[in-house]
Symmetry: C2
Subunit: 243 residues, 2 copies
Amino acid sequence: MELFYGTLSGEGLMTLDSEEASHCTRVMRHRAGESINVIDGSGTMYVCELLEAGPKGAGAKVLEAVPGFGSHPYRLTMAVCPTKNPDRYEWFAEKVTEIGVDDIAPVIGDRSERRVLKTARLERIVLSAAKQSLKGAVPRVLEPVSVSELLQGAPAEALRLICHCAEGKRVGIAEALEMPGPADKRNIFILIGPEGDFSDKELELAERLGWIPASLGDSRLRTETAAVVAAAAVYLKNPEEPV
Amino acid sequence: MELFYGTLSGEGLMTLDSEEASHCTRVMRHRAGESINVIDGSGTMYVCELLEAGPKGAGAKVLEAVPGFGSHPYRLTMAVCPTKNPDRYEWFAEKVTEIGVDDIAPVIGDRSERRVLKTARLERIVLSAAKQSLKGAVPRVLEPVSVSELLQGAPAEALRLICHCAEGKRVGIAEALEMPGPADKRNIFILIGPEGDFSDKELELAERLGWIPASLGDSRLRTETAAVVAAAAVYLKNPEEPV
């Protein structure tokens, strides 16, 4: 099965842009009248009939809507500082999309060396990974904010974990994901710092706001590796309900 | 802390090759008499005094040996089919090295598209990752064998998991890692198939030999992603004993 990406209009019509249409008809060789599977990024997969395709795009008629296609039973925000090497951040974005994530939130730490990133490029990578891994919901790539802004902005009722390497008491992530308490364990925020870790100011703010200091174990993981291990920990703790 | 790589001789002398010596003296600017930390890949980290360095290499005197440096409390063999895109396999090798692995075993499946790979290049990547993540033991990159050979060659007393996407009863990997039974849960083999999955013949052989069919959850993961998630599952299940 392959997924295409389109925009849904009110009249049950799905529109593919020229790039997507070209992939659909020239690479995958679909013809008018054939069935194609299309997502619009919102979570639903639409079984469609391809109508017409041309250089400017393609239209398809929605036959059936499959909600929650490839969905996961939790909401996860991965707030991760940009890595010095942009390839590594792109690798992280692709991998957490395959595994299951809702928001990718780049955050700039006091000690971040890299303070800008190419959001549009990340969005393309995330869309491609969502299509390849058959997920109807395409994760959002948020505009970068500071670590402080993210610490303050995450809802207090969510399960909020800050993963750092500094001294101090930390809970293993597997345990943190199961801790009794009022936090909504199905709405998870995980914050991963830059190569130089968080500043004291950021750690104090996190503590004051009730973020749980979590440990990703004893291995010294690169930022992007830590992020993927954390996303895997959430994924492995939350298997789909058996049907 | 940074680690250098050298060869240990019987008289407590550590030798760095010319590339390593150049990195040590020109890039990191160490001088004779200074303390440097060196691994030989066997698991021990040697605190050394840099003696002399020249274009052909450098010598260092071992002052102290720290065994089990950065070690993990299990033995893990990741047997993973080469990916069509070699970059992805290199990412996998780097990431599982950071997380904790002992052997990286490329395996060629009946349905493998890629049947050759650059072992020397992988070894360089793995060594670099071991140094960067401060591990004294450098994982081995084994010569490729067929899936059948690996299925038969893995010791029967090890915990042997085959991760596939075909029909049939599978145990979630977290559960498989904790299953009661005679298998040695500290000697783990995980087998990840190619993009086209294992052939029926391979799956039947695995079953006959007592490999446990394991599931990595509901997400459709690329080969290299599946491998990293599996390694993360082992890592997260096996935190270091508290000191």
